[in-house]
């Protein structure tokens, strides 16, 4: 991925996971699902753990979910996140039955509760890279 001025860690995208990242760039949440039993799975992987099919399809997710947990990152651990620290990272149960971790924007950590509704937003980082984030819905 070509991003000369971008200093955060880049995802190491594979052929298996590329549709997810392509979807984000088009501001769509695209999730992998089993072609046989239709179980949605995340993160992408080669085999369905329900029916063992190796055939998969990609479906568009709603971007709606609820708060499963969160943390407030005070110590950034990576220099590129220092300028936005402290920042909240949320773990979200998506309506499609899978879970996803992404920053939670514009929220007050002291007001958060498990199960709060959230929605996905798209953050364009470089022309090639869009990352997911959540906001309280």
């Amino acid at each position: 991925m070509n991003a000369p001025n971008y200093d955060k860690p880049l995802p190491d995208i594979t052929a298996l996971t590329r549709p997810f990242w392509d979807g984000l760039r088009e501001h769509r949440l695209v999730l992998q699902a089993c072609a046989r039993c239709h179980t949605v799975r995340h993160y992408p992987r080669p085999v369905c753990d329900r029916c063992y099919s190796m055939e998969s399809v990609w479906v568009t997710g709603s971007g709606r979910g609820t708060l499963h947990s969160w943390t407030v990152n005070h110590h950034p651990f990576h220099f590129a996140f220092k300028r936005e620290s402290p920042f909240i990272t949320s773990t979200v149960d998506l309506a499609e039955g899978v879970r996803m971790q992404a920053p939670l924007r514009d929220a007050d950590a002291s007001q958060l509760e498990l199960g709060m509704p959230v929605e996905l937003v798209f953050e364009d980082m470089t022309p090639e890279l869009t990352l997911p984030a959540f906001r309280l819905a």
Partner: protein, 382 residues
């Protein structure tokens, strides 16, 4: 065939634990290994099995070369991060019980300068690739950040408090003060814990383990070969490993407050034929305070959600009902990825723990925890 009591810890060895070192991981590992072999009353040529630490950069062939081993006939790796050392006990016990080897050496060394920081090492582990792709780009790059949402959810569901996590840190510090090979020699109060800076909420600085350099090693011998060695044998009564659902990412786990140890613990207790009431001392992997609390629950010392109350009131301190991490653990002795926990449990069961000796310790357990949720457990007895 059960492997219960077929294998014994017969030798233990450690280097001095420090924050930094100029010595290599190999030098430290060999020093601890030679100490363990000598402690058992063996010669290096007696070692015929080796299970080195998978991240250690020291392989079985290095022991043949440096120790002149004439007949190394068993070697293996147990790639489970911080659960590797205790999982290696299972591996070595199987090897000696099956007659493949008589004396298996298990080693773990880390030379801080030569092997990099914990955060760097995580990037090298293949099972973290999904984390690298889907979580690190958004800022979740270090263990404290992986584990914090587990602890946060536990607090929200069960009312667990930062003070309860603090009690774990303070207790282990108290124990470390009784050990001359513990890195932390300054007392810590609950107020100190509460005043320590937030790293990844709810984990404060004093909820996080140390970065250390050093090495530890143990020798596992077939029971019939152990009886006439130098030290009283410490038997491996029960041992097991367990992997959580969604082993490589905490995020994807159906229950993020439940780890692989929940599957392993009942198997180890059943194999050893003991109950929780029989455990005199426990050395529990403590990369973070919360992980200790979680393991106490997942082993069944209390119900899920009751770990916070369980650790209060001195119950896990020396003199309490279940003394935990009598050496100070990874939080206050040194981060030797759990090998130091096995060394300490062996000392306790031999009655060689000095000022921190648990009176009449006969049965104890040691756990390993690593790779974001793998668990291992051994129940040892004298």
């Amino acid at each position: 065939m059960s492997i219960r009591d077929q294998a014994c810890v017969t030798g233990i060895g450690e280097t001095k634990y420090t924050r930094e070192t100029t010595r290599t991981q190999a030098e430290l590992t060999f020093e601890a290994a030679l100490a363990a072999i000598a402690d058992a009353g063996l010669e290096p040529k007696d070692i015929d099995g080796v299970v080195p630490y998978v991240m250690g950069g020291v392989i079985a062939e290095d022991f043949i070369t440096n120790f002149g081993l004439p007949d190394l006939r068993y070697s293996a790796l147990t790639p489970m991060g911080g659960a590797s050392s205790v999982a290696a006990l299972q591996n070595a016990a199987l090897a000696v019980a099956g007659g493949l080897a008589n004396h298996v050496l298990i080693t773990l060394g880390r030379g801080a300068l030569s092997t990099g920081r914990i955060t760097d090492r995580i990037g090298q582990m293949p099972q973290f690739r999904v984390v690298g792709e889907f979580e690190m780009p958004m800022g979740t790059v270090a263990p404290a950040q992986f584990y914090a949402p587990m602890a946060r959810r536990h607090m929200e569901l069960y009312g667990t408090t930062s003070e309860q996590l603090g009690e774990i840190a303070v207790t282990f510090r108290k124990h470390a003060l009784l050990h001359d090979n513990a890195m932390m020699q300054k007392p810590m109060t609950l107020a100190d814990h509460q005043a320590s800076r937030m790293i990844a909420d709810p984990l404060r600085l004093y909820d996080c383990c140390l970065e250390s350099a050093g090495a530890a090693a143990v020798v596992i011998s077939r029971a019939d070969r152990a009886r006439d060695l130098r030290q009283p044998p410490v038997y491996i009564g029960g041992v097991a490993e367990g992997h959580p659902d969604s082993p490589s990412t905490i995020t994807q786990r159906p229950d993020i407050c439940r780890i692989g140890l929940a599957k392993a613990a009942p198997k180890a207790f059943a194999m050893a034929g003991v109950t929780h009431q029989d455990i005199d001392v426990a050395e529990i992997y403590d990369c973070f305070t919360y992980i200790v609390l979680c393991q106490l629950e997942d082993m069944g010392f209390c119900a899920k959600g009751e770990g916070g109350a369980f650790v209060q009131g001195g119950r896990i301190a020396l003199g309490g009902e279940l003394p935990v991490n009598t050496h100070g653990g990874l939080l206050s002795q040194a981060h030797i990825a759990g090998m130091n926990h096995i060394v300490e449990l062996t000392r306790q069961l031999r009655g060689q723990a000095g000022a921190r000796q648990v009176a009449n310790a006969e049965v104890g357990l040691v756990t390993g925890y690593g790779d974001l949720g793998d668990g291992s457990i051994a129940i040892l007895h004298r």
